[in-house]
Structures are given as C-alpha cells and as structure tokens.
Amino acid sequence: MKKKEYQPYLLLLPVILVLILIVGAPLVKVFQMSFYNLFLGRPNPPFTGFENYARLISDAVFRKALLNSAVFTLFCIVSMVLIGLGLSLLVNTKIRGRTIFRILLLLPWAGPMVVASIVWLRIYDPQFGLLNYLLRATGLVQKNILWLQSPSLALASVIVVTVWKFYPIAMLFILAGLQGIPEEHYEAAAIDGANALQSFIFVTLPGLRFVLLTLLVFLFIVIFTHFDIIFIMTEGGPMHASETLAIMTYLQAFKFFRFGYSAAIGITLLVLTSMATLVFFYISEVQKPAQ
C-alpha cells in the first residue's frame, strides 16, 4: 500500500519541474526586478523599493495605456460575445450545410496572428489598401482614411482585427452551451405561448449563463493581456494611441531597456488580471445556487 501512495505525486513530477523552472522562477525574478532601477546591461542596479510603482501613477503614458487597455478589452469582448452569440444561433439551426458554415466561421482563429496582422495591415493601407479603395469607389468618403496612422482611429482599427481573430472562441463556447440546453425547455416555452424572442430571453439566455460567465473570464484573460496583433500592426502608436498595458510592458523593456520599470508594469498587469478573474469567479459562485 505504501508503495502505491506516492505514485500520483511521482506522475506530477515532470510538470511541477517544468512549471517551477519556466514559470515559478521567472515570476519571482520579475517581481524582484520591479524593485530595482534595472537597465539592461548595467550591473549592480540600485535597490529602489516601490519607486517604480510610484512612478507609474504619475506617468501619463501609463494612464493612457491603462485607459487603452480598458477600452480595448471592453469593446473587444462585447463585440465578440455579440457576434459569437448571433453566429451560434444561426449555425445551430437545422439547416443543411451548417457544418461548412461553422468551419468557415471558425477559421479566423486558426491561422497565426502574424498572418492576420499583415493581411489586415494591407487592407488598412491608406494608399493601396482595399478598405479605402472600396470606401472611395462607393463614394462614401473623399480622401484616404489613415486607419492605423491617426491617433483617433488606431485603437478602433486594431479592435476590429482582434475581434475578427478571436470571435470564434466565443462562438465555440456558446455553440457548446446551446447544445447543452434541453429541448424540453423550449417545448415548455412553446406550450406557454412564447414566441421566438421570448423563448430566447427566457430559455436560451438563462441556459447559457454558466457558459457565458466562463467565456467572459477566458476572454478577459486573453484580451486584456493580448500583445501580438497590436504590436505587429502599430507597436502602440501613433503616439501611444494604441498602446495597451501589455504593449507598454514590452516596449519599456525591449525598446527603452528599462527592465525594472517594465517589470513593475507587468506585475501591475498581472495583479489587475487576477483581480478581475477573482471577481468573475466570485460572481459565478454567487450565481450557482440559482442555476
């Protein structure tokens, strides 16, 4: 009996090893780094305590990044959930060829983010891009619009690309959730005289409650910390217009070499993400008795 008891722990050894080395140690190190005035390549950095964090509050770029992160995350998630919901409802119907539609609609998520970025970069190109061409050809606008180069439009433009890339996640979750709602609920509603809209509000949405909550948590983590698309398309520009917290973390480290400051921003990002996740979990626990 004794011999068998350590088996499960033994099986865990590889993953624990990997996680401690590649996640645990770096996490501790970056936390430590945030307390020093550390620059890449400079030895013996001075210990500065919370100075890096204090600087964040007075840093206008940080405040802009925080606002950008909030706006980016909010608009992306709302759009993704709405699109995912709409598409799931359409694809979940008993039409022929729904599998083909479902597969085609899931595809934006499948490819590399770099590919999505460079294709959309081309579409957004002010002079040769398709978008401006179509807008001018149909007479909707007169001059070429600077989608990624003007501070007012840059963030919106990357939001569109991100929503395009990630809405399939919402669609997958909601599709799975829709299939978990028992037919009897709809039949009961029909007997009570509910029309399509009413059965959606009173059967579908409540039935999706748990799935939607899980989806929101997952999407929040992915979108709030998202990096690739914005970095490749705008690098946070022009003039920090599309710089989210994640982008700022990276730029401070690898463009300005302020590793200590960057670490502080990164830790802040982590704390914000964890707090929001805990809030979501708390809400879902409160929801559970009603489920």
């Binding site: 008891e5 088996q7 499960p8 099986l11 590889p14 993953v15 990997v18 996680l19 590649i22 140690a25 770096p26 996490l27 970056v30 780094m33 598409l87 359409l90 119907t93 039409i95 539609f101 597969i103 609609l105 899931l106 934006p108 499948a110 490819g111 590399p112 983010m113 770099v114 999505a116 460079i118 294709v119 959309w120 081309r122 579409i123 040769f128 398709l130 061409y133 050809a137 395009w164 997958l172 979750f173 799975a176 959730g177 299939q179 748990f210 989806l215 983590i221 910390t225 990096f227 690739d228 490749i232 982008i247 973390t249 590793f259 960057s262 990164g266 830790i267 990002l269 982590l270 993400t273």
Partner: protein, 276 residues
C-alpha cells in the same frame, strides 16, 4: 422549418461568412498575382491571371531563408508537441485516476499558469536564457512554448481520460496488470484520439507563437515563420505578393490541422464548460 425562415438564415449566413472569410481569400488571391500587378490600382477582387511566380520568388529570396524558417518552425512545433504530450499525459493521469491530498491545488495552479500574461514572463525569461547562453537557440523557444501550451493540453487530456471508465483498467489489473501497465496498455491506446488532439493543439500553438520567438531569436537563420513574416512589413518596397505567398504557406498547415481538430475542440470545451 418555414421556408422564409430558412431563406433568411441562409442569406445572413452567406453574407456574414463571406465578409468574415474575406481576409483569407484576399491573402490567397494576392499570393497568386505577380510583382507588377501587386500595385495595380484599383485592386482586383477576382483573379484574372493565376501565377505561381510569387511562390518561386519566395524560395529564391536572397535575404530571407524561407525554407530554413519552415524547418525551424516545424522543429519547434513538433518537439513542443511531443514533450507536451509526454509531460501532459503523466500529469493528466495523476489528476484523472488518483485521489490525493493537494490534488485540487495542483489542478488550480496549473490552470492559473494559463492566466499569466506572456508579456510579463518574457522579460525574466529573456534575462535568464541570456545568462545561460541559450539565446538565439531553438531549444529555449521549445521550453518556453512547452510551458505555455501545457495547461490547456493537460486540461484536454484530463477530459479525455475522464471520459473512459475506470472499470476497464480495473479489469486489466484483476488480470494481473500493474497500475502503470494498465495505463500504458489500456488507457493510452483508448485515448489515442484525445492524445492526438492535444498534440495537434500544442503543435498549432507553437507554430503560431510570436512573442517568445521574436524575443529569443535574433539571427535570420534561426527565425520561425512568425518572426520571419514580420520582417516583410519592415520595408515598404517589399514584393507584397511574396509576402502573401509566405503568409499562405504559413497558414496552410495549421488550418489543415485545425480542420481535423475542430470536432475535438467542441467536444473538449463541452466537457469543461458546460456543467450538466
């Protein structure tokens, strides 16, 4: 279903799918044009001449070792997938087939790893890898990608293992099999589709991965496709069709894998997300 309702649904779906699929169509279309017509204005929506010139130019590009990039990306992705499966299977076995103290904590910590921003971890990883001297080596990328692919792989594997009844292994053990023997000879072969799905997911993840690759790799001959693709946009006078051809070739393998996998994704998410 009433006919008019069906017509509505089809119409909306066709319009929406066309719009959403369009960027990929645009990418493929432009890869088949050739240099002169890339800056044709107005841009054409329908192919007039299909040529493979861009693809040939892609492999002959003197400053971009595209075939080397394909090889690098493949090495990273397949190694990550294999290691991910090995480590993940052990872990999922432990989580699925045993009951012990701290099991919940372990499960939650693994999931928590998924929550960590990769931007955050890339900074200390860069410093650590630099100090070991593994910078600009594919092995550092494999290790980093492995760690980020593990949580979801473990979750998928655990789901698949959970779906196979324990009685089957218990039968084998009554017949004299050891616990581990039962795992290897019964459980693993039965979960083969699930293991394949997890491997493919890890492969896709490592293939598409950008931030670790672009931070750890600095010389052109070590680039993966993601990093290499990005070099096209840094110069404006680049042959745009060559870039699209490169994009098509980079996307094709993972899209094919994804098509095979998508059935399992829905199943895996159903198992985890919907509590019934």
């Amino acid at each position: 279903m009433r006919t008019y309702k069906r017509v509505w649904i089809y119409s909306i779906l066709i319009v929406v799918t066309t719009i959403l699929f369009f960027p990929y169509y645009w990418m493929v279309l432009n890869s088949f044009l050739f240099a002169e017509s890339s800056f044709v204005y107005p841009p054409s929506l329908i192919p007039k001449n299909i040529q493979f010139g861009s693809y040939i130019a892609l492999f002959k590009d003197p400053i971009r070792p595209f075939s080397q990039w394909i090889l690098n990306t493949f090495i990273v992705a397949i190694t990550t997938a294999i290691l991910c499966i090995i480590v993940g299977t052990f872990t999922a076995l432990s989580l699925s087939r045993f009951r012990y103290r701290g099991k919940l904590a372990v499960g939650l910590s693994i999931l928590a790893v998924r929550m960590l921003p990769r931007v955050l971890l890339v900074i200390p990883l860069f410093v650590l890898i630099n100090s070991i001297g593994l910078l600009n080596k594919l092995s550092s990328l494999i290790i980093a990608d492995l760690t980020f692919a593990l949580p979801l792989s473990i979750w998928m594997l655990k789901g698949f293992f959970d779906s196979i009844p324990r009685e089957i292994e218990e039968c084998a053990m009554i017949d004299g099999c050891t616990r581990i023997g039962a795992f290897l000879r019964i459980l693993v072969p039965l979960s083969a589709p699930g293991i394949a799905a997890s491997a493919m997911y890890a492969f896709i993840f490592a293939w598409n991965e950008f931030i670790n690759a672009s931070t750890f790799l600095s010389s052109s001959d070590k680039f993966t496709l993601s990093v290499g693709l990005r070099t096209y946009i840094e110069q404006h006078s680049v042959a745009y069709n060559e870039m699209m051809a490169a994009a098509v070739l980079t996307t094709l393998p993972v899209v094919i894998l994804f098509l095979i996998l998508q059935k399992y994704f829905v199943a895996g998410i159903t198992a985890g997300a919907v509590k019934g």
